[in-house]
Amino acid sequence: MSELARIIEALLFLASDPLAVTELCEVTGESAAAVGAALEELAEAFAPGERGLVLRELAGGFTLASDPIAEAAARALLAKPRLATLTPAQLETLAIVAYLAPVSRPEIARIRGVNADSPVASLLDRGLIEESGRSQFGAVVYRTTTLFLKVFGLQGAGELPDVAQWDPTPEEQRALRERLLAAGEARAGIASE
């Protein structure tokens, strides 16, 4: 293994966040081409089935992770599941933060229609979201973390599919609008009786 590949392997081992090629160039003083070649070398060394570790490309960079082959033993050793399950409320809150960041707790509550204190607290606690400043009204705003990208295997929040794809079709929306309008008029009718 080349010296540069060895250095990069050590850096990937030490860093908790994925490392981008530009970062690797900067701290090793090597060209992007050289770093690219070293990463190729590592990708080969860590090809699936070769070792206990795998090289993953995530969150705009590279990181090492344990191979799934070790999952049973890792669970026994670390005495905790790979991921604690996320409740529906936590997933919904996470989705809102992922799509709308920076977003404040009152905004999340408005969209969900229920108080968001508890899911926000547990997502913070698990490191999936973090504070990113304050809104113009002084409320703390949140964004997703690199851990979120790692856990969900994403390159960046921009990789999430367009949220509008889950909207009802225009026909369905029209039907919905008509029903709501009819309900409103029915109420108006009751009032004028």
Partner: protein
């Protein structure tokens, strides 16, 4: 258990809770006809029979029933008052409701998508071990002096001194009537008559004034100045002066 397991046998509907929700949302069951108390009782029975309490499911149930209640109260609320509340025309209100529904639905779908993505991830784990000690704090300690500008601290503190803007209530109709005013009004009426009809006391008044007057009546009752009776639900309320009672000080300062 899952909420879908909850079987209901109500006046207007019989079947699983899930189906009821679907039918309500499709307006195939009229929410106005549905006794939500019966649904809650059925759920409590169900819990009793099972003997255990799944907090997740219970929370989901409470959220759903609360949503149904809100929806129902909106349906039952006379249009006039709803408009007063939202200050929206039926068309605008429908648009607003539609936008809200679409938004909530959008992120619920996004949440389902994220759940799928998560489930599809390979069973890999990332290293969480702390940095070796010699790399941990060296950064700051080896630093040349004055790397950071102290002004950033003052600016951060200044930000924390900012008071949030006062909430703007101008869109909500101002309460034009106070309990004290209505207490005075009832006392004046009771000085000239031993008994009077509540309807007469609030004749021609708006809804808010009627509500506040009822509150004022409770206040007088609490002070022992007046009593009332109502023979049947929604019947006439007769208010009586309590003999020997002396009107006290202003309302709210017993």
């Amino acid at each position: 258990m899952h909420l879908a397991e909850l079987e209901l046998d109500l006046d207007v509907f019989s079947g699983p809770f899930d189906l009821l929700l679907t039918l309500v949302l499709r307006e195939e069951v009229d929410l106005r006809e549905l006794a939500l108390a019966e649904v809650v009782l059925a759920y409590l029975d169900h819990l009793d029979a099972r003997g255990d309490l799944d907090l997740e499911v219970t929370t989901e149930f409470i959220v759903l029933v609360a949503a149904l209640l809100e929806l129902k109260s909106r349906l039952l609320l006379p249009g006039e008052e709803l408009e007063e509340l939202l200050e929206l025309e039926p068309g605008e209100a429908a648009e607003e409701l539609l936008a809200r529904m679409l938004e909530a639905r959008r992120y619920r779908a996004a949440a389902a998508y994220l759940a799928d993505v998560l489930a599809d991830q390979p069973a890999v784990r990332f290293r969480e071990a702390p940095l070796p000690a010699h790399l941990r704090r060296s950064s700051l300690e080896e630093l040349e002096a004055a790397a950071w500008d102290p002004a950033t601290l003052a600016r951060a503190l200044g930000g924390l001194l900012a008071l949030p803007p006062k909430l703007d209530f101008s869109h909500i109709s101002v309460m034009r009537v106070s309990v004290a005013e209505r207490v005075a009004h009832l006392r004046a009426l009771l000085r000239s008559a031993v008994a009077l009809s509540f309807d007469d006391a609030v004749r021609g008044a708006d809804r808010m004034t009627v509500a506040v007057t009822l509150w004022a009546l409770l206040e007088l009752y609490k002070r022992g100045e007046a009593s009332w009776e109502q023979i049947e639900p929604f019947g006439e309320i007769t208010v009586r002066r309590v003999p020997g009672a002396r009107p006290g000080g202003p309302a709210g300062t017993p």
